[in-house]
């Protein structure tokens, strides 16, 4: 286990370094932020002064070196637009995104696994057909369209739920989240559903496939021959086997949900990091974009690590393979 953690840690550093280089070069190629920041009627001298103050007059390698050096000291640069440390901007908004994605994920799991089980245990039944058809819609209708339909139905026509923004934030056990106020919850429901519909379909299909692959296996028949109840066979024998692919995929999907909450956050004006990213790209606010991508990459690495640990907890074969 220790060897595994150390190896994983070194790999993570390599990934971070490579991403930093790619991101830095990529953002450099997009355009000159000075064009966006300086008003068109500024004089040549003013312009030169601003460019120099941002360090944009230096050669690329020197800019990268300065950036890396500062990054190693925990400074990912100041936002050109807000004139504040970019990392602070991101951490300010990260909780909103985390709250949104985690709610969406929990929703996808809590609904997806039972529906998938229902489908897989009675394949080709009417229930199965309905669930499968529903999941095709979840997969194929574009997320932004689903979001707009949700707003139209639940906010505009029915008027049940608010369509934009994050509600008031409550505090519980030192945690700040809109989960803890009624109005906050109301604001959260639509974007969370929007974000989770695709994942919900994915979880349903994964679970269904898992059930259908596991049920005909010999150990299920043997469990029946032992006189084990059908309930225990499904929820212990079969479910624990399905959990292995589920954890892998859900872990990866959590990362992508965090990174690509952009669409949902834009539609529902959710003040998360996705919206910050879009705004920053529009204004060519380089330090924020770079910091955002590095934070997301770090989150991905961390989630993958957690998945690997969980994986070894669920699958004894992995656990022992590592020790030997």
């Amino acid at each position: 286990m220790t060897v595994f953690v150390i190896r994983r840690f070194l790999q993570s550093i390599a990934v971070l370094v490579v991403t930093a280089v790619i991101v830095f070069l990529g953002i450099y190629a997009i355009g000159d932020p000075a064009e966006m920041l300086i008003s068109p009627d500024a004089s040549q001298a003013e312009r030169a002064q601003v460019v120099a103050s941002l360090g944009l007059d230096k050669p690329l390698w020197e800019q990268f070196f300065t950036f890396t050096w500062n990054a190693l000291h925990g400074d990912l640069g100041r936002s050109f637009v807000f004139n504040r440390p970019s990392i602070a901007l991101i951490f300010e908004r990260l909780p909103a995104t985390l709250e949104l994605t985690l709610t969406g994920l929990v929703f996808a799991i809590l609904l997806g696994i039972p529906l998938g089980l229902l489908s897989g245990l009675k394949p080709n039944s009417a229930t199965d057909e309905v669930i499968m058809t529903g999941s095709i819609f979840g997969f194929s209708l574009p997320s932004f369209w689903q979001g707009m339909m949700l707003i139209m139905i639940f906010s505009v026509w029915l008027g049940w739920l608010p369509s934009t923004g994050r509600g008031p934030v409550g505090e519980f056990l030192g945690l700040h989240s809109s989960l803890f106020t009624l109005d906050g919850l109301k604001h959260l429901i639509l974007p969370a559903i929007n974000l989770s519909l695709f994942k919900l379909s994915l979880v349903i299909r994964l679970t269904r496939t898992g059930v259908r692959e596991t049920m005909p296996l010999d150990f299920v028949k043997f469990a029946r021959a032992k006189g084990i109840s059908e309930r225990r066979i499904v929820f212990v024998h079969v479910f624990k086997n399905i959990l292995i692919p589920l954890i892998t995929v859900i872990g990866l999907e959590l990362g992508s949900m965090l990174a690509f909450a952009v669409v949902t956050e834009t539609i529902f004006a959710w003040p998360g990091i996705g919206k910050l990213l879009i705004d920053s790209i529009m204004r060519l606010d380089r330090p924020v974009v770079v910091a955002y991508l590095l934070v997301i990459v770090s989150l991905f690495i961390f989630i993958n690590f957690v998945v690997d640990v969980l994986y070894s907890l669920v699958d004894p074969r992995v656990r022992l393979g590592d020790a030997s």
Binding site: D218, R224, K226, G227, I228, S229, R232, K240, L320
Partner: protein, 327 residues
């Protein structure tokens, strides 16, 4: 061993069909036999002859689209086919246990051996976890697994094939059933391990007074183990009787054909005589005797169904049985 008292199991005219798009597939066709107390019965046949399905039919474990369409399966006088699913569950694993062919597949890879044993105890008896664990440990010791206490916490992949089959046997023994159905339990194992497992099962069956149905395609194994043998062909029992009699003086041409196809049974230098042709597909069985297309003794009369003949403790379905001096 001779059986005393009423039989443990009486299978009467059982047919198990698989409903397919191309019609009913008669995997087991009008099969009848009895298993006496403490008796070891060998059920022999080629792949696809219906011998495993016969075993699954007894336990009510035939997977859809298959189902037992007719007959009676009397276990200690009670018809298993009339039982509710929940009543059937109290029989499975408790009064009738089963051992499967491939030990690599019968244990759940993600649950420890202990968990899989304890749940079997607790599925039938209301006992504490500690008590269930102690019984599991004792069962592992009984089948010759070293340091059973520690092995309870191990997972199936940490056992070899032979050891896994011992675990499966230990699970089957947990409730000291009246009957164990063993579906080719040694086929997937090395020859040396095979004989160990054979010996072990024979010893335990005798020790606990259990009856045993041993399903196999290996006549040699059955000869070494069983009291009685039943030969199955294309879903039917074509010959049955005491092991010695059937193997030394087979009446049915199919049994005789099986015997002359065994390398060890044929004198050195003489060629093996495989049975010509293939077992018929259950969907397109010839009418009358299903073996007639491959049979050297077949005549016109074989297109009609041969009746079961019973003579001197032997049963066979054939118009042209081999006649031996004694018969």
């Amino acid at each position: 061993m001779t059986s005393i008292g009423p039989p443990v199991l009486e299978v009467r005219n059982v047919s198990t069909h698989f409903m397919t798009r191309r019609g009913a597939l008669k995997a087991v066709d009008d099969v009848s036999f009895t298993v006496g107390q403490r008796e070891i019965v060998g059920l022999v046949g080629e792949s696809g002859s219906g011998k495993s399905i016969t075993g699954f039919s007894i336990l009510g474990l035939v997977d859809p689209p298959g189902r037992v369409v007719s007959g009676q399966i009397l276990f200690n006088g009670e018809d298993l086919l009339k039982m509710s699913p929940s009543a059937m569950r109290t029989i499975r694993g408790k009064r009738i246990a089963m051992i499967f062919q491939d030990p690599m597949m019968t244990l759940n890879p993600v649950l420890s051996v202990g968990t899989q044993m304890i749940e079997t105890v607790q599925a039938h008896d209301k006992v504490s976890r500690a008590e269930a664990r102690a019984r599991s440990r004792d069962a592992l010791g009984l089948v010759g697994i070293p340091s059973p206490e520690e092995r309870l916490d191990a997972y199936p992949h940490q056992f070899s094939g032979g050891m896994r089959q011992r675990v499966a046997i230990a699970i089957a023994l947990l409730h000291r059933p009246d009957l164990i159905i063993a579906d080719e339990p040694t086929t997937a194992l090395d020859v040396t391990i095979q004989s160990q497992i054979l010996f072990e099962i024979k010893r335990l069956a005798a020790e606990f007074g259990m009856a045993l149905i041993w399903i196999s395609h290996d006549l040699g194994v059955v000869a070494a183990l069983a009291d009685r043998i039943m030969v199955m062909y294309a879903g039917r029992i074509v010959e049955a009787g005491k092991v010695d009699g059937v193997l030394s003086e087979p009446r049915h041409p199919y049994t005789s054909g099986l015997l002359s196809a065994i390398p060890a049974a044929v004198p050195r230098g003489e060629p093996l005589r495989p049975i010509p042709g293939f077992a018929p597909s259950p969907l397109s069985r010839p009418s009358g005797c299903a073996f007639r297309d491959r049979c050297v003794r077949a005549t016109d009369i074989c297109v009609t169904e041969p009746m079961l003949e019973i003579a001197a403790g032997r049963e066979f379905r054939c118009f042209h049985p081999y006649l031996w001096s004694a018969a």
